[in-house]
Subunit: 572 residues, 2 copies
């Protein structure tokens, strides 16, 4: 008979809104598998490679904005989850990790699939719980039901993140044939209420005073999910009150923010230094921006974050303000608006600082657009051009996943038109190339939108097991920039001058995705020339049909030339 | 300029005999990469997928019988090593794990490729060292040189295993163009002398007395590397002194040991209970053997092991004897021999207990051989038959790697002829399917012998990135048993009766290896029928030519029928 507390654990997950689970096959986790699959309100998928399974779950959780369960057998299976768990932790994406285990007494006894699973994810989970192997004592049952409540509550509390429950199980693992599972109506569901962190009148007054005292206030957003309400208030702060708002592509600020800073920030732009810097969100892609701010430190730097970690990306932090950015900026808008109304228009914030940023941004944007009009792009296909054309063409309301390494960097130069409201994602928690395809697949499985993935060949083949399953949805679109190696190493000065470049940094590899596409039954397009690229783009961009890969094969040396030309050609 | 202490670290590795390194591309680890690649006495390979890289290193270290270095960049890269690190830990294979890291001050600062790397492998390394980011203070240099000595010494000390050094590095990572690296002749090499654990005369006398007091003494070997001297002494103990010696396929005891126990041990064989059980080596494959011994507990159970963990696989342990098995058995042989010489032949150990085991083993072996003579094997191809034929045919002095799940179980029933001295390996430390191809590849890269891998489809595709590199040697031979899912789940009673069998346990998958073979440039053979199988076997078994895959596609339902028939047909 299936252990009732395990059935209850699954019932509690469902009651608490965790209705999706990715299961990897195994025997030790069979009781969990059976309870998850048979639960009427839980949708399950079976993914063999645990590394991919966990990234798929993360991609789903990101779209669903709630935890997804991953469930695996005992032994090294759990360790294959670790890369995705670390990414989810730093990207603050909720996951419920259920690892089946052998009971404690079997650890390190030379008896299969048993490793040290307690706390196996180290500091990369919000908490690691462990239940006993006893499923009968009333206190044990109390512990299990309490633990799963605790885990889901914790995963959902800001900053969200992965939570682990290690679950030792003894044989037998399987219910009798045709045994009915009883999902108990009587399980304990313990709610943890959402709260809002707010600022007292007094505290707010001092903040407002500071803001009004500075002429050069820069607001900058790091990685953030698309939030229309936040976008709206920030847009007003920029348009009506002259605060420059800056955001990388992954900040998802869908209006005309300063977004070409990667192009124009350099040694000549120290004059843009802010007096007060207000930041929110997670990491920034732009190295130019980080270098600029670390050199030109703000007098005050406030970071809006509910995270207890003191994160001082720009080495200038003076205040942590643990509130939601939307709350803060709405309050700011309201009070500044009121102050202006009270004082009449004369007191309006001077626009000179915003103008300086806008002037630079406009120039950079124009440079970018002009760059791609040059004739040479029509002669030999280069990846930068191909990415520009495709990012310009992907339809409104799509999602765009950017793989790490060059993909995310190229895309941050190019951006997407804000009015198309394309949500942009990237695994910038740990910036690994290890799960980019799986993450995009997970996203595609949890939305009706088209999901585009921009990815280089190393990241693509590294994670090609993402496509080794029966669930590839029609809305997945992969733009594969294949320069047969890690092109980024040729772009940066250090490695490009070493004898080891091709073999140990770029890691030249010969694969194309043709066979992978065939195996996984995706439509496949391959372009090596400008003509092929233009001819095939239309078919690839067709909204209809099944999942597609557009592989763009270019020469790494030539790509480097083009990119260096692009970087060298801009003058502020 | 490249940091001299990093160059020295590499020089010390080489001086201490660690002359092989698998590097995964990255920027943070560039100083290590460059020093490793340029060292005249270190052989380096570049493998992009860190999960595969670490298993390849493990396969190499197993053959080389000394540590192999793995080296990766910062961030989630290190976590991809973890499955292989856990396997190496439990299988006691030495590895030197060099993870580049960002300096401490950059952890959790929303700035790329930075996770909590300190102690990242938990209890699955013998020790985790960490050096500082300071490479200039004399004490820091002393610490680095001491640490690498300590790490290699520790990896090489019984029980051997993986040792981790976390290495924080600041920019710049790259030497100037054409900069010469100076491998210092003056580095500190600190030797740790090998010792032998021996037993005092008094202790040995009491042991010998116990042995002589029991009539039913069973010697059983768990997983062990092939050791001709140990084999020779055990053979004499069995042949001349009537001790039954039992070993699974992975015990590598290359003489006529009791090896068909998986077939004949059952409820009817309680009479084989030993009074004294002497074990050595690591894990046992045979579940029948474990069940038999846990039920029929020996009065005394001695386990020969240098490991400080108290490992009580059969729940009967009474004495841990921390000496090398070869020392123990040579001493036993010598003293028993002398005692007999002194007493005359009358006192010879009675052979009845050995005979009981031998009788059963002979019967089981005959049953096995007869089973495969049946006509039905010629009608429809089944995997058990195909494996039998191929294991019988693989040439003497090859190596055989057994993937986990059904492959290792089938092979343990069938075995290989001892006189062929085929060394047998399997990842039975954690029994995961996650790195079986990579491990075999690592083995093939470090021996001139032919290396056969017997593997099922789930394990094969899980780890197909093993073949995504430029190093596939000609001596690799893959026998791929493709039943399009995890056949093991159909074989065992529990899952085979569940509605979730195909989707969530067996995990039906449609891939064949044809495209993988093409991409990786291996010869490829595919058999679906008995005729095809026989026709292609010869070509596959050809010693010459390049690496080959022989894919045997069979029906999972039919395989299960055959295997059940095999299991049911034997009567003791």
């Amino acid at each position: 008979m299936l252990l009732q507390p395990i059935v209850n654990l699954v019932e509690i997950l469902s009651r608490k809104g965790v209705n999706d689970a990715i299961i990897s096959p195994g025997s030790r986790n069979a009781p969990l598998t059976i309870a998850l699959v048979r639960h009427p309100d839980i949708k399950t998928l079976s993914i063999s490679d645990e590394r991919s399974a966990a990234f798929i779950a993360m991609g789903m959780a990101q779209n669903l904005k709630k935890p997804v369960t991953i469930c695996c057998t005992s032994g090294s299976a759990a360790y294959n989850y670790a890369p995705a768990v670390a990414e989810a932790f730093f990207q603050e994406i909720p996951l419920i990790i259920l690892t089946a285990d052998r009971p404690k007494e079997w650890i390190h006894q030379h008896d299969g699939q048993t490793i040290y699973q307690t706390d196996i994810f180290g500091k990369h989970v919000k908490q690691s719980f462990e239940i006993g192997a006893d499923y009968s004592h009333p206190d044990a049952i109390w512990h299990i039901e309490r633990t799963v409540n605790n885990a889901v509550n914790l995963a959902n509390t800001f900053p969200k993140g992965p939570v682990h429950i290690n679950i030792p199980l003894r044989e037998p693992f399987y219910p009798a044939e045709n045994e009915q599972i009883r999902f108990d109506n009587d399980v304990r569901v313990i709610e943890r209420l959402d709260t809002e962190n707010t600022l007292s009148k007094e505290v707010w007054a001092t903040l407002l005073q500071s803001i009004e005292q500075y002429d050069r206030v820069l607001i900058a957003g790091g990685q953030n999910e698309y939030n229309p309400a936040l976008t709206a208030v920030l847009q007003k702060l920029q348009d009506e009150f002259n605060f420059p708002i800056l955001g990388d592509a992954i900040a998802n600020l869908k209006f005309d923010v300063i977004s070409n800073h990667d192009i124009f920030l350099n040694q000549e732009t120290d004059n843009l230094r802010p007096e007060l810097l207000i930041t929110f969100g997670k990491s920034f892609i732009s190295k130019s921006f980080k270098t600029f701010l670390r050199k030109n430190k703000a007098i005050e730097h406030w970071h809006l974050s509910l995270d207890n970690h003191l994160i001082d990306t720009f080495q200038s932090l003076t205040k942590v303000i643990p509130v939601q950015p939307q709350y803060f900026f709405e309050k700011l808008l309201e009070d500044i608006d009121f102050a202006q109304f009270k004082n009449g228009d004369d007191e309006e914030r001077d626009g000179f600082y915003l103008d300086e940023w806008k002037k630079n941004n406009f120039k950079a944007k124009s440079y970018l657009e002009h760059f791609f009009l040059a004739d040479f792009h029509q002669k030999q296909l280069n990846e930068f051009y191909a990415i520009k054309k495709l990012l310009d063409a992907i339809p409104a309301n799509s999602q765009l996943h950017l793989a790490n390494s060059m993909s995310v960097r190229y895309a941050n130069y190019i951006g997407t038109a804000p009015e198309k409201q394309i949500e942009i994602f990237a695994n910038r928690g740990t910036s690994g190339i290890d799960g980019c395809v799986s993450t995009a697949l997970g996203a595609a499985l949890s939305t009706d939108k088209l999901v585009y993935l921009l990815i280089g060949d190393l990241a693509f083949f590294y994670d090609r097991n993402a496509l080794w399953n029966r669930y590839i949805p029609d809305n997945l679109r992969i733009i594969l920039i294949n320069n047969h190696g890690g092109g980024i190493f040729r772009m940066i000065d250090g490695p490009s001058k070493q004898a080891e470049l091709a073999d140990y940094f770029e890691t030249v590899q010969s694969y194309t995705a043709e066979k992978t596409a065939l195996e996984a039954d995706l439509d496949y397009f391959n372009a090596k020339t400008v003509d092929e690229f233009h001819a095939l783009s239309t078919a690839f961009l067709d909204h209809n049909g099944k999942a597609k890969i557009f592989e763009i094969e270019t020469n790494s040396v030539y790509n480097t030339e083009i990119f260096k030309q692009f970087k060298a050609g801009f003058s502020a």
